[in-house]
């Protein structure tokens, strides 16, 4: 997987976020402040423009620029969180011109660690970590088990979906939804939902 692959992933995320913007906003209106769809749409549109203006040469540079742009442009909590995840991934991938699925798995684990450290959320707190952490674990396990790239990324996507579903009945302990206490239970977390979009975009990019 090279810089073009990761740029295509970001393009696919931007497309999926624009298409899913109303759904993310609806989820966020139920237990948050109804800005998640608009914030991510603005953020990933800016990322796509930044990558087009000055195409980076390596996967690490693509993800680092994407993360920095999200941090600067989003304005909501998802900017620093996804921005940190992508920057940590970029740092983990270093300056290699191409990376393997195993290296991507290790980078995703580093991204999850960055999000956990910044936001202080653990699995079960009903946040993006509930989808992101299982996805990273599934990708690592799939690669270790010898699965092909497309199959490994399908496993990561499925784990993110399952993680987001598992968080639905939970009560939020981090983020804006935590102010609602038990009234947050029964709603899908918008951060977990957008993480599913991002992991789905990765699988889509690898298999088309």
């Amino acid at each position: 997987m090279d810089a073009a692959f990761f740029t295509a992933w970001i393009d696919e995320i931007a497309r999926a976020v624009t298409a899913g913007r109303e759904r993310l906003t609806r989820l966020d209106a139920a237990i948050g402040d109804a800005d998640h769809g608009a914030n991510l749409d603005r953020g990933f549109t800016a990322v796509r423009e930044a990558l087009a203006a000055k195409p980076p040469a390596t996967p690490g540079a693509v993800l680092t620029l994407a993360g920095t742009t999200l941090i600067r442009k989003v304005g909501g909590a998802s900017g620093p969180l996804y921005g940190t995840a992508l920057r940590q991934m970029g740092a983990a991938l270093g300056s290699a011109p191409e990376v393997t699925a195993g290296e991507l798995a290790a980078a995703l684990e580093a991204g999850v660690a960055g999000v956990r450290k910044l936001g202080g959320a653990e699995e079960g707190d009903k946040t993006m970590v509930d989808a992101l952490a299982p996805a990273a674990r599934a990708l690592t396990a799939a690669v270790a088990g010898g699965l092909k790239d497309g199959e490994a990324l399908a496993a990561a996507r499925a784990a993110a979906e399952e993680g987001a579903r598992t968080a639905v009945p939970l009560q939020a302990r981090k983020g804006r939804a935590s102010y609602l206490g038990e009234r947050s239970a029964g709603h899908e977390d918008p951060g977990a939902a957008s993480t599913v979009l991002i992991l789905t975009a990765l699988h889509t990019t690898a298999t088309r």
């Binding site: 800005d35 900017g79 620093p80 910044l118 983020g175 804006r176």
Partner: protein, 129 residues
Amino acid sequence: MSAGPRVGIVLISHSDALAREAVALVVGIAGDGVAVAPAGGTDDGLLGTSVDKVAAAIVRVDQGAGVVLIPDLGSSVLTARLLEEPGSVVIADVPFVEGAIGAAVAAGTGASLRAVLDAAEDARVYRKL
């Protein structure tokens, strides 16, 4: 009163107006010798946080004695954490208004970064009644 560099304070809010008014309140109570700056709202003036605004405010209040960041909640906290520098740019985990006033009064006396942070954190246990 110390004549040396004072600890700077940045008030980070989702709202540009809230951050500015909080600064006005703090200066009114602690005096205009305190280096305190607002960083509220997004770059286009909406509710949210701008890392560029916060970074610029840090530069504006930094006299060399350190800077205390006081965020309101959510993305303000996460953005502040991205700009933390142990020993020089630190976050106070405190009620926004009360913490800001506590920090500013201490900073106005020429207190150290540690002492200003402690003064802000006293606001967490300060009872109004």
